[in-house]
Amino acid sequence: MLEDLDQDIRDHLERETLDNIERGMSPEAARHAAVRKFGNVMRIQEDARAVWTTVWLEQLLEDIRFGLRMLRKHPGFTIVAVLTLALGIGANSAMYSVVQGVVFAPLHYFQPDRLVMAWENNPRFPRVFVSYPNFLDWQHTSRSFQQMAAFMEQGVDLTAPGSPEHLKAKKISAGFFGTLGTGLSLGREFSPEVDRRGGAPVAIISNRLWRNRFNAGPGVLGESVTLDGVDYSIVGIAPSGFRLEDDADVYTPLGDGDPLVLNDRGAHDGIFSIARLASGVTISQSQAEMSAIQNRLDQLYPDANRDLGIYVQPLKEEVVGNVGGTLLLLLGAVGLVLLIACANVANLLLARSAARKREFAVRVALGANRIRLVRQLFTESLLLSFSGASLGLLTAILGVRLVFAAAPEILPRSENIGINSSVLLFTFGVSLAVGILFGLAPALKSSHADPQTALKEGSRGSTSAHHRTQSTLVIAQMALTLLLLVGAGLLLQTIRHLWSVNPGFDTQHIVTFKVGVSHSLMKTASSTKVAYQQLIERIRQIPGVQAADFTGLVPLTGQSGTMPFWINSQKPASLQGAPRVVMFLTGPDYLRAMGIPLLQGRFFTPQDTTRSPCVIVIDSVLAHNYFPHSDPLGQTLSAGFSPVGPCRIVGMVGHVKQWGLDDSNSNIQNQAYFPLYQDPDKWVMTNYPDTTIVLRTALETATLMPSIKAAVYGAGSDQPVFAVQTMQQIVADSMSSRRFPMILLEAFAVLALLLASVGIYGVISYSVTQRTNEIGIRVALGAKKRNILQLVVGQGLRMVLVGLAIGCVAALILTRLLSSFSHLLYGVSTNDPLTFVTISLALTMVAALACYLPARRASQIDPMVALRYE
């Protein structure tokens, strides 16, 4: 049918013409009347064709073809626009993949929203590790949970099969994997029979360990691994990639652990407990039931449990931790970068649409459908944004790698981060929104072009309306750029201030590391002590080592070791409610190694052993709080849930920053030191292996390490040396919660500055071209180069200054409102004038430079050429 349409129309027109001639018209008049009566042939053909095709698809394909042709015709424009969008969209996709991996994605367990973590708590701490006897009672009596499990994180030394290695391990209760709903790759998880004192030594190993040490052979069940000197029989393999909090290579039964900890209802020593809600039960219901259970326990066991409560939280909340707020903040910041990029592309499109006004006017005059035109313009915009997005995805892959480089350790669940389907969907949505956003203004403007006026005017077209829009966009870009620069600047100041904080000890020349002392040497408490003492002596003999000793806690590493304490035998009624002290278990040379000042009395000596009276050293804060008017030396202090003491206070030392360089008073500030060699024998096997060696040296770590390793292996060839860090690294890591957003925000701010500079350059450049005539006239009337420069740069600076003003106001408001940002700051207020002024000046100068280039071009305009320019 359609093929004949042209012929049919021609036939029709012939007939009508003949009829008209018969009516008496002249042949030309007859033809003319026939054509007029028929109507718009093109439209008729379109309409007829439309009957037979899936209209919208045909038109869409045509739009796309047309759009591609247009983009190819203006390669410069297309490249700039696509690159700009690639940067903007790519950065957003990268950031989103981080946020969705860490914050949004559900946990990788069965029905993860039914999983909770149960903590104990007391008036001082909202979350306290669980005591094992309490956990067992919960397990027996709770009905809100269909299953409960407990676990502890630790390290073990694996000595067989293969070479010695220190591994991350978990001690888990029976039903641990069951609670999470995760099946094992091979074998079964622990049964209640093995999960108790004296249960058979069995272990579950990770997929990684199975591959590395057993070549992933199927006969691994029943093979053994030697951990901390004991052989364990393998009964299961954990699934590949499984982890909870830390990822572990070895799992052993919790119940077969140190009875001192497990039987002590008052011991809260690192045990986590997880649970799965019974069907139909909500978290608050479970919280209520558990609180009631805990109350009963408190009454049954007042000594251990008085003032002890319970806190149930969703497991995901615990795993994600505090980093969620910062990540969302960064997602917002990168969104601003995208807006700036869109503004650039919109300005480019506006400039081009002015040039295309004539084209549209002609098409409208020929009868084109306005809606169709708008749709075509949108198609062009979407083509741009989707091309930008595709390129942007490549950028995003790179970007994600950069994010990892910025702070690998502070991101939980980092295994989830990657370009997955959620990220692709997000990218698609963003490019759709972006395409519509920057396509809107030019499309509407173009379609409203009145054909008559457009055709009469020269190809320049009216510029005033476009100029207003372009200026507004530039102002917005400047404001947003300022916002990002201020944010980055404030964080930069924060990091600078943190580095200048004195932590109370030496940060240079100190190395810390751990040693897995051979378990053959640790059969008894005394043999252990001897082994450790010999080890540290060997290390002290190494040339270049100025001081070295053990410590149970290294400040600024995030380790926690607080316990209740009291002075002069005034034991409090409730240990849970008693004031806390951070207790450092150290050897005598620790003070010298760390460079902590001794303020009064003495520190430990090798003569302080379990055979001599116990001694304690306190810090200046504890002295100030508890001995404000008296001399602490000679008085006594006791500490701990299974108390040690009363011990005589023999010295006072300087306070150290334990919790962070920005340590605030919301944390426990009391500090005390107890001699490692006076630790009661029953604790030696638990506490000694947990120690870290602190070493002072003027040499580089790399130079010294081989000698250290030689000394350690000399004492026992199966003793791994691990967790080597310099104090500088520890200090830097302690800032990582701030360094991470700082690095990213700096990157975004630089990107924004780049885009905004290109933007203002483009707009001013375009304006100069449009005003060529006017500038020519000015020059002809006597304006000097200087005047023209002032004119053009002035135009640009006006926009910049308005943008800066708006940006400053926005920055002042937002940095205060966004608590997730203001909490990051240290040593600098949200309205730090130095930052604002410096950044405003810098931004103005960059913008002025960007305006200078087109201004120079303007000042060199030859009036004779300009006046002929149309």
Binding site: I9, E16, D47, V51
Partner: protein
């Protein structure tokens, strides 16, 4: 020609044009030009159909199989395409006519002054 002038003609809804075409073909097959003339003539020139719009309408009717098309020779020995009502088209005409009558009647009643 400006788009404004076209608007002055009474724009027929798509559906009504289809109806008029079907009615015209009730009297027998005709080619496109003849149908246009017939509609003008029968309505005493009130319905000045933009003649071209006939063609998309014819295509629509063919697609719905209410009319069929055959090649033939016209009165003055020119080749022409003749359109003819199909049985379905005939039935459809009855349905559409009654719908139109109902619609026209309803509008007429609304526009009448209220009877006492």
């Amino acid at each position: 020609m400006s788009t404004r002038e076209i608007g002055k003609r009474i724009e027929l809804l798509q559906g009504t044009l289809d109806l008029l075409i079907l009615q015209t073909l009730l009297l027998g097959p005709a080619h496109g030009h003849a149908i246009a003339k017939a509609i003008e003539f029968k309505s005493d020139d009130i319905l000045q159909v933009e003649q071209g719009s006939l063609y998309p309408a014819l295509h629509r009717l063919i697609k719905r199989r209410w009319i069929s098309v055959e090649k033939g020779v016209s009165e003055n020995n020119r080749r022409a395409k003749f359109y003819r009502l199909t049985p379905i088209g005939r039935r459809q005409l009855v349905i559409e006519t009654s719908k139109w009558d109902k619609l026209a009647g309803a509008i007429a009643r609304i526009l009448q002054p209220a009877s006492k």
